[in-house]
Symmetry: D2
Amino acid sequence: MDSSFLKEITPQLIKWRRTLHALPELGFMEYITTYRIGKELEKMGFKLYLGKDALDENSRMGLPAKADLEAQEKKARDWGVEESWLDQMRGGNTGLVAVWDTGRNGDHVGFRFDIDALPIKESADPAHRPAKYEFGSKEENVMHSCGHDGHTAIGLGVAQYISSHGDQLKGRFTLLFQPAEEGGRGARAMTDMGWLDDVDYFYSGHIGIKSLPVGTIAATTPGFLASTKYNAYFKGVSSHAGINPELGKNALLAATTAANNLYGIPRHHDGVTRVNVGKLAAGSGRNIIPGDSYMEIEVRGETPEIAQYMAEKATRIIKAAADMHDVSCTIEAVGVTEVVVCDKELIPKITEWCASSELVKEVLPSVPVSGSEDVSFMMNRVQKHGGKATFMLFGTKLDYPHHHPQFDFEEEALLVAVDAYIHILNGGSAI
Amino acid sequence: MDSSFLKEITPQLIKWRRTLHALPELGFMEYITTYRIGKELEKMGFKLYLGKDALDENSRMGLPAKADLEAQEKKARDWGVEESWLDQMRGGNTGLVAVWDTGRNGDHVGFRFDIDALPIKESADPAHRPAKYEFGSKEENVMHSCGHDGHTAIGLGVAQYISSHGDQLKGRFTLLFQPAEEGGRGARAMTDMGWLDDVDYFYSGHIGIKSLPVGTIAATTPGFLASTKYNAYFKGVSSHAGINPELGKNALLAATTAANNLYGIPRHHDGVTRVNVGKLAAGSGRNIIPGDSYMEIEVRGETPEIAQYMAEKATRIIKAAADMHDVSCTIEAVGVTEVVVCDKELIPKITEWCASSELVKEVLPSVPVSGSEDVSFMMNRVQKHGGKATFMLFGTKLDYPHHHPQFDFEEEALLVAVDAYIHILNGGSAI
Amino acid sequence: MDSSFLKEITPQLIKWRRTLHALPELGFMEYITTYRIGKELEKMGFKLYLGKDALDENSRMGLPAKADLEAQEKKARDWGVEESWLDQMRGGNTGLVAVWDTGRNGDHVGFRFDIDALPIKESADPAHRPAKYEFGSKEENVMHSCGHDGHTAIGLGVAQYISSHGDQLKGRFTLLFQPAEEGGRGARAMTDMGWLDDVDYFYSGHIGIKSLPVGTIAATTPGFLASTKYNAYFKGVSSHAGINPELGKNALLAATTAANNLYGIPRHHDGVTRVNVGKLAAGSGRNIIPGDSYMEIEVRGETPEIAQYMAEKATRIIKAAADMHDVSCTIEAVGVTEVVVCDKELIPKITEWCASSELVKEVLPSVPVSGSEDVSFMMNRVQKHGGKATFMLFGTKLDYPHHHPQFDFEEEALLVAVDAYIHILNGGSAI
Amino acid sequence: MDSSFLKEITPQLIKWRRTLHALPELGFMEYITTYRIGKELEKMGFKLYLGKDALDENSRMGLPAKADLEAQEKKARDWGVEESWLDQMRGGNTGLVAVWDTGRNGDHVGFRFDIDALPIKESADPAHRPAKYEFGSKEENVMHSCGHDGHTAIGLGVAQYISSHGDQLKGRFTLLFQPAEEGGRGARAMTDMGWLDDVDYFYSGHIGIKSLPVGTIAATTPGFLASTKYNAYFKGVSSHAGINPELGKNALLAATTAANNLYGIPRHHDGVTRVNVGKLAAGSGRNIIPGDSYMEIEVRGETPEIAQYMAEKATRIIKAAADMHDVSCTIEAVGVTEVVVCDKELIPKITEWCASSELVKEVLPSVPVSGSEDVSFMMNRVQKHGGKATFMLFGTKLDYPHHHPQFDFEEEALLVAVDAYIHILNGGSAI
């Protein structure tokens, strides 16, 4: 294997990651991000399917408001995204698919890299590496605090390898750069385009999750939590809070009562559950009984049955809270992730293939996580057609948890991940 | 008296009101409103004190965010407000004072007209008069739903009378067009400039409040509720809601728990109380434990003691809710209104003066309201220096309460109010 | 008038009060109390109607549990209540009516004295008079902390006067010693027996309420709050809290959510409101998801409309809280009080009649209270048939509020009340 | 082995179980239960250590109220428990230890059987076996709904075997019939007496937990949840809810706010958590602002760290809820259970020993449960001194969960358990 490749690519890998980190974009608004990725892959010689060609518009969930999309499109144009690219992405059709066909018989191997950021204000603490090395987010309240900047950089690294070693590889490679993983909103739309329907091996993964040493990776995870994401809209009647409080129908109290009770959905004996009210906005002015409110929630469960249990409890609570305060309510499902089972036969293979890697020190067979991932849609599709799929972890020490304003990872983890994927590529599909 | 005046001014009065209604502006952002009022008064020949000359910058409370002020200033410039006017108002120094000196000995009479709107989305229901006659708010989420558009029109009507009958009047007239009445934020800043320190008679009033027939007015109200307005900021720690829920410190739950308990502050045996959480915003994204939240609240009491009782209970609840969820919290007082006692000797006078009005059918001595008004600062200042002050009501049938998206009033009430003030002017201070 | 009467009766009055205070009984369980009252009135020569003859069994509301009634009946028997008396009262038919007919033409005058105590543990603080003078409650968790011990003593004092001055009086006197005033449960049952249907003047009253000097009395009150009292029973499903939390249907959470939201029913612009969850019991054991819960609540309003508003909001909240936690619920109305209007023409009369009293220093025309009283049923009945009715207050300094473990009153107030009633009797109905 | 033994004992086993089921007693009040067990063991020839000789009084936790203990002692005396036995148990010193020494060298084997019931009202549904066969609880609100009646019967069955086969066995046997397992209150008190300090093998177990077929048993469980149990007492100030609501300090609202927030303690990524408010009692009367309230809660965690996390969150919430409503609060720890690790080397042994049992069809190595058990104290003590310990499960189909009013088990499970223990006895310690 070509051990000089990693050495060469290291500065590039870190540059990609930091550049992406400094300009984070929320789900379905990754116009600049997609453009940047696309221009790199274009140079490498991949065949690209952009935006509306990469995903099924109608399968997207939880699309941002039109005004937000347009503002971001304007920003992208001002930044320099070409008009033809923008046309292809307009209206929240971000992300792209890159295909490389060696022309030689061999497996079809798929990879998923997620590219979106989160609505978190990044820490400016000098102890926070991005602040210290001046690649912190330039966007007011958006941040790559789940490592997708790293995932994207890893994807570009793998692409670079394929491009520069294409003559030594066989089969086909499909790289999905997926928008809107946060909230479980984008994977289904890519999956529904059929990219994965004849894939033999499918790999995806995550930096961190558990705090593990750099060099330690996990070949599989025992599975994700199935999850459902809801928006709830409460509609009451506003009124003057001093003069006619009794004429109001208080949508704020409906939402706060729902929130407090949602967190109290009973734990389930049969497995892990989660519930979160991630966002609540109610009312318009101080002396007005709030006539409107809005909540973003998600529930998760370790099995489809538990996920269903959580979803039923949650909708019951929301509806009753509305009824309690005599307001109406609409509940909208805006995201779903499925449970998934990694193919266990990949464990010894990955372990064997990575044995010769200098960077991968240890391959753990399986490390549990309690997150949810819409890559579940992709993995389930691959497996349904007879392919094998796994979701790996790439170790890094974590000083702060994912989604924290000071989340960061050790950039050496990028190299480990790229090297692991290269060994897998060679082991699994190359000569 | 000049009975043809009202006939002449009627179309103008309604036009003023509708024009103002269609372009509502929130407190301390009434750039266009102030400009419009000023240009009219300029034409009438009043001496004007604009913005920074009209109020004490440092006595303003609850100023909007800098970005919001700047956005509104830009909008005002685009709309056509002259740069010199804007300079005088920049940074939330809206409102103006208009003075007319007859040059003849006589009383100094003061009037207060409030000019701000509310953050409410106006109804587009065709049964709603502004929608039907196409003068509904053109601003997305701002609305004159407390009648201040009418108050401003009344003020202009009174000014027009003074201007056109100046030679028949004696003494001096000071008209305060006050910003930011909602939230009790603007009156003190005008009062602190000393405009009222030698005023002999001071009048202000409100359209509606109680649903009374057009033509019925109240000479006084028994008083307002004292009130305090707070913003509360909760600061916790965000975390991934699936992977590390236990690492989050949930600022949303602190706010919702506070809200639910605030409404339960015990009633007080000694008089009326009010409490409202008018706005609550928490969290940033669905799968993030909310690290930040924010609430706008107000508490009111019929006496200073009850108002104090409410304020103490409210701050205790907010602090304990923060402590319960291990988050920090900052409570900021952003508005205050005082209790006030209307001068009862004005009741027989107003009744007598208005007896000859064709439009004023009935003068009720006193009608109770349970609102709060920062005109209390002005009235208390006038009375402290020996002047007499009252707050009147001008009847209109009300189909919807104040602060409702369909709030509206009968425009005949504008004429009644102007005519009542004219009779008071003539009775009280003119020859 | 016989001024020596009061002097003579003073020690007896205080003894009655203290004896009653030391042995308080809850509503519909006043077996010993009724017996004591009856034995005194028997000695005085009144015609008595006891228990089942005094009230309509079926009109009672909020009867205690059968087991509690039986336990109290046993206690009464052990204490020495005669079996024939017990038979007449068994099953919660306490209270009695005492009638005196002078045989001479004249008005029919009615009085109501309430006799029940409250479920409060009396303070043993040595600064608390009953503790200091050793007449504190001997019952563990029952206490006369609303002054009904005093009311009963006043009733006996008035009866003693009628008995000893019967030859100087004219007309008829009906004294109702009413059970179960607390909770508004007993008055209707007495009223329904028709005792008041031809009463010309009806008097009742309360010690304290406002802290007024001894010697100050109020001739009327502007009215009571109408009130409704509910019991709510939530029925869920218990389950092991560790092993199968998800199988429980949590009746405790239904009740606590209801309670927190009940206190937040919006204030009403048109008058006073009250809400209280006076009792809540839920669950059976620590590691069991609570399958049952129970709440005692009451709501009040200054007008029938406001009372209705409060009742509707309360039942909506309770039902929705049950629904939220998937438990069933039963709401039972267990007590009602009405609004009432005292006859204003009694104000000058009472003032005049009491002018010659040495003990009554001042008669206030009307003092507002924000309590509820089921004497409202009696007053409304009297007025419906053309009689005049009022509810008076008898001043005492109050160091602690009513229903407080240290509630107490100045015993001089008893003398004032008896003297006021004697003057009213003589002024209003005697020669 | 003596296969006729089981046949003979079957009717007795079922009779024991049903007799115990019909007369359930709560923790530390098992006076009749202990007496019944003791009389049986006495007949069998065991050396008995009763009550105060069996446990360390001062190590008991969560003792019932004195009045409840005395009432139950009176009931036991009336029922026929001998005075000398009662003396030995008075004051909540129930339970006993039975020792059998074969006089031959061999292992010291310990067993724990828990004997207490739960405060649940048993179902009278004819589909519920105890109701159908008329051995349902005769106590109003107490029920064996966790199978401890079965555990006790199993213990007697094992004892009968030891007694009748004593000449074939070697070593010593110590059988602990433990009071107050529910709430984790009794095990430590027995452990502290040193009964287990030289035990070589220690067995305990549970009927049911998971719904498994009769005949299936589990040799170990992966562990219990560590738990802490608290009582919280809130002390506020009562007041008249109509007249002076503002003078009350509402202990009910403190408790309900705490309860609603306790259920919302965030889930923990690292393992199972549980929280329950099993009991809440607040207030005394409907029209009194509640001055007192009381809660029984428990929190659990899969690891000591998680249990500690839950305990810290819970106490924080309770204290803040008290502070929010300006009431004081006392938190008392009344029960604790530990985590435990079953000795895995017992798995192959138990599997082997039970292979010859006709009743044991399948031995599962390990079945997870999410309950807590204070047998953890005993197991940890045995292991600390070098012994081996396990906690087994005995399968039965479960139609209703543990702690449900219709909980029941298949009585064949009793036979399986006795047979399993007999095989273990013979395999592990007999010749």
